[in-house]
């Protein structure tokens, strides 16, 4: 493989590229799902190909193919495209700091290879979960999914790097839908929208205890049908870590993507309110809010050895003591800001160019035990598991709905509410964060459906956090 990729690089340089890299990716996926007592689908897929990136006269070109026999045409095409890009060039051209070549092989640590576990055993698991979900007549849809992804990636660059990465992801989850008179409610576990996913092996599926949790989740789902509507008004809320993970994703993770800040996503995903003049000065949250990106944390869905610039994964501060510190970046955008790359240039497939993506954007744990946090809250809501999400194109005005809410009254959890939602403006919201639970309540959540870019790229990213409390939040807008 090294020889093949180096030939491609050499040819690109020969045709005039001042920089070139090539990525080969072989992806193997296995997905199993059950629905209402029957197998919905068992599917095995494989996909492979390579993408060539060239920089000529300060402008990018990219082409890709699944067919190695066409490599010379693909390089020529990338070069031609780069020359076309130069018809509307960046002032001063695209540039980045040189880096020393890296030769390495990274492997995702795991305990149990999910592809080595028999399909019979995996099928038996999802059918048992499905059965455990269907204990109530109101449950009209029971759904269970597990899935696994294995990537074999090679990266070679004209700077002399050659990096191999063997990445492994495992995910799964259940959801049920209850239908009553004019009402439909849904509950999910461990997270909503299909699955919780992490890097690692089948040990993550075992740790979920899907069978053990299914009856409780189904019961909550049925109870929601007759639960009262969530009240509205300004109030105190505590977010469980699954909902808080998405709050971090939308209001922090996307907002600190440096390509957005530079307008590179303006026509599609949008820009960001966190402009470069705010670095080191802007109060993003309260003193206890510490956010960071970390592509190295064990099991994170955004964990890897090297990004698609060939830069080693690292940890950097985003918000420290409530003050905004820095961005997710790649070599190109970091160069423009005069800072080192945070190793966040990621492509979701071989036929996509790498762009700035989240790694694991995490909220550092605080000091509170969860029970103490509830006991300390006189009047509020505990909001659990995301149901809907929306945020404006500068990442300021957001609105989230959750599957489940509990009243908190005089320091105790009370009745269940349905259709909870809350809204706010990002920095105001985070400035009203007055308590974060400690490391015992901290966990990593995978977001395997993060969309960005044209052509679209759906990235797998992660968020670590513990439940946290926010004051003066507008609740019940929908």
């Amino acid at each position: 493989m090294k020889e093949k990729l180096n030939k491609i690089i050499d040819y690109a340089v020969k045709l005039g590229a001042s920089y070139s890299d090539v990525r080969f990716l072989h992806r193997e996926e296995e997905n199993l799902s059950a629905r209402n007592g029957r197998v919905e689908g068992i599917e095995k897929t494989e996909n492979e190909g390579y993408g060539v990136r060239v920089l000529i006269n300060g402008a990018w070109g990219f082409s890709s193919s699944p067919d190695f026999s066409q490599w010379e045409n693909v390089v020529r095409e990338a070069v031609e495209i780069a020359k076309c890009s130069a018809l509307a060039p960046k002032t001063g051209g695209i540039g980045f700091d040189a880096m020393k070549p890296i030769i390495d092989h990274y492997r995702t640590p795991f305990m149990e290879d999910p592809f080595e576990i028999s399909l019979e055993n995996k099928l038996s698991l999802i059918m048992n979960v499905d059965k455990a979900l269907r204990q109530f007549p109101e449950i009209k849809v029971a759904m269970v999914r597990i899935g696994f992804v294995r990537d074999r990636k090679y990266f070679a660059s004209s700077e002399g790097s050659f990096i191999q990465q063997d990445l492994l992801e495992s995910g799964g989850g259940l959801e049920c839908t209850a239908v009553g008179a004019g009402e439909v409610q849904k509950r999910s576990y461990p997270n909503s929208f299909g699955r919780q996913q992490l890097t690692g092996g089948f040990e993550h599926i075992r740790a979920m205890d899907l069978v053990g949790n299914a009856p409780r989740v189904a019961q909550e789902c049925v109870a929601l049908l007759s639960a009262p509507q969530c009240p509205s008004g300004k109030m105190t809320i505590i977010l469980d870590s699954t909902q808080l993970a998405l709050q971090i994703h939308e209001s922090c993770g996307h907002a600190v993507e440096l390509d957005r800040v530079y307008g590179m996503e303006a026509s599609y995903a949008g820009t960001s309110f966190l402009t470069t003049d705010k670095v080191g000065k802007f109060r993003y949250g309260s003193d206890i809010v510490n956010l960071y990106q970390d592509g190295t944390v064990k099991n994170g869905l955004g964990t890897f050895g090297y990004d698609d610039d060939g830069v080693p994964a690292c940890r950097t501060d985003i918000v420290k003591g409530g003050i905004f510190q820095g961005y997710l970046s790649n070599r190109e955008t970091a160069h423009d800001l005069g800072m080192p790359s945070s190793a966040a240039n990621r492509a979701t497939s071989w036929d996509r160019i790498p762009i700035v993506r989240m790694t694991n954007v995490n909220l550092a744990p605080g000091t509170w035990k969860f029970d103490d946090l509830i006991a300390d809250t006189q009047d509020g809501l505990y909001l659990i598991t995301n149901k809907s999400w929306s945020i404006d194109d500068k990442r300021l005005n957001f609105q989230f709905g959750t599957e489940l809410a509990y009243e908190i009254k005089n320091g105790k959890l009370g009745k269940m509410y349905k259709n909870a939602s809350y809204t706010g403006i990002t920095p105001e919201f985070w400035k009203n964060c007055d308590a974060i639970c400690n490391e015992k309540h901290w966990g990593l959540w995978g977001t395997p459906n993060c969309g960005k870019g044209q052509p679209p790229q759906v990235a797998h990213v992660g968020h670590g956090c513990a439940p946290a409390r926010f004051r003066n939040v507008r609740v019940g807008v929908a």
């Binding site: 197998v39 689908g41 095995k44 404006d392």
Partner: protein
């Protein structure tokens, strides 16, 4: 481009390899596209992609196995078949599986435009450079994307289905920005020469200039004019949330209790038609069944869901040809939706509104309560206040939280003009609309 002959060769090879199966279906999704993306007045991403996928469904008794690959050499195709057999043998019987669709006559439709397929990166870059020059002259910043390409879909099954359909697609969109405003314009077609890039540039530039120095409008209920971009979002979500076979069958859709009831203003008619050339024509679905036109809402009255072979078998209704690639957790959904236009030119839609909001498009829209068709999202790239029937100035963007059917009940007028939006495999063709009241639940800072 794979072409019909190569697709047929692959399909035949795989069907032959599945000879021991009771039934088998093999499909090919192939595509090539170039996309030139620009931002901050320069081309920052410029790419070419090509890929294809062979998908296989094997049935043994009523046990089903799926596999797919993007490799078409003989060994990879044999592995594809072996994997699907292995899975089918392990699967449990699905007593409701009705069998694969039989071959049926399919209307041929030429949706392939050679000049669009051949449209070069040079031409895309020249068009983008021209737009950037215009933006710079006006002191504005241009961003956007210009894509041209082709898709091929081919399908065969052991019951005699053998179909191939290539389609070209061109899509252009731009956001033009000033320091405190932005304007959007976009269009898509199967023929790149249908796109009036100069007009789109002017539309976006005008919006960016007219929405300078936006003022804040308090959240509340206001009459609105929604441009086609915004109406397209509502109609697209309505099709997905309301008219899918599975949501209908399981009682998760509003339609489950509203068939033949008035759900929208009588001037609202929405239908699905894969054969209408104004959309993204696709004469057969992803099971090879012919597409038929389905009335979703007729004169404001809810009429029907759409069906694939499986859901039609369960509901004992005719298959309307709306199957998605198997395995499919959603059931059938409408992919080629149309909304009937009205009789008022778009420029006159604001007439009669004393104080209201003009919305160019919505951003990051998502369902809040699917059965109630309640959704939320932000306005973006050209939000204006209407005063005494005229657009007077730009306003800061608003969050709306409103049911789609609630909005369609309050339609007061529809434009004579329509726009078509083409996505990966779906299209929506809609007019602009004047709606007597929509709920804006929040405002942002720009």
């Amino acid at each position: 481009m794979l072409g019909k002959d190569k697709c047929e060769k692959i399909l035949k090879t795989v069907i032959e390899l599945t000879g021991k199966a009771d039934e088998a279906e093999v499909s090919i999704f192939s595509g090539e596209a170039g996309l030139t993306r620009f931002a901050s007045n320069y081309i920052h991403q410029n790419v070419r992609e090509r890929n294809g996928q062979v998908r296989l469904r094997v049935i043994i008794g009523k046990r089903i196995g799926h596999s797919s690959t993007n490799k078409t050499d003989p060994e990879s195709l044999k592995n594809l078949v072996d994997r699907a057999f292995q899975i089918a043998k392990l699967s449990e019987e699905d007593p409701n599986f009705p069998g694969l669709p039989q071959a049926a006559p399919v209307q041929q439709f030429n949706a392939f435009r050679p000049s669009t397929e051949r449209y070069s990166p040079q031409k895309r870059a020249e068009a983008v450079a021209s737009l950037i020059r215009l933006a710079k002259e006006k002191g504005l910043t241009a961003s956007g994307a210009f894509k041209t390409g082709l898709r091929e879909f081919a399908i065969a099954n052991s019951k005699g289905v053998f179909l191939y359909h290539p389609v070209t697609v061109a899509d252009f969109s731009t956001v033009i920005m000033s320091e405190d405003s932005s304007g959007y314009a976009g269009a898509s077609s199967i023929d790149v020469h249908d796109l009036d890039l100069a007009a789109l540039a002017k539309e976006a530039v005008d919006k960016a200039q007219k929405s300078r120095h936006p003022v804040e409008l308090a959240p509340g209920d206001y009459p609105v004019v929604l441009e086609e971009y915004a109406v397209g979002t509502l109609v697209g979500f309505l099709g997905f949330l309301g008219f899918g076979s599975r949501a209908f069958h399981e009682g998760r859709s509003f339609l489950s209790e509203k068939i033949n009831q008035q759900v929208a203003h009588p001037m609202v008619s929405i239908w699905d038609d894969g054969l209408d050339p104004r959309g993204l024509p696709q004469p057969f679905d992803f099971e090879g069944s012919p597409k038929t036109r389905v009335e979703l809402i007729k004169d404001g009255i809810a009429k029907s869901a759409v069906w694939d072979s499986y859901s039609a078998g369960l509901a004992r209704v005719p298959n309307t040809g709306h199957g998605l690639p198997s395995p499919n957790g959603m059931g059938a959904i409408p992919l080629n939706t149309f909304m009937a236009p009205g009789n008022i030119p778009k420029v006159q839609l604001a007439k009669g509104i004393k104080k209201g909001v003009w919305v160019t498009r919505f951003h990051y829209t998502n369902p809040v309560h699917p059965k109630k068709t309640l959704i939320t999202g932000m306005t973006r790239d050209g939000t204006f206040i209407i005063e005494d029937g005229e657009i007077t100035r730009g306003i800061k963007n608003l969050r709306f939280t409103n049911s789609i059917l609630g909005a369609l009940e309050k339609v007061e007028a529809l434009s004579t003009e329509t726009k078509t939006f083409i996505g990966s495999f779906e299209s929506t063709c809609v007019p602009s609309a004047r709606i007597s009241s929509m709920t804006f639940s929040g405002v942002t800072e720009f």
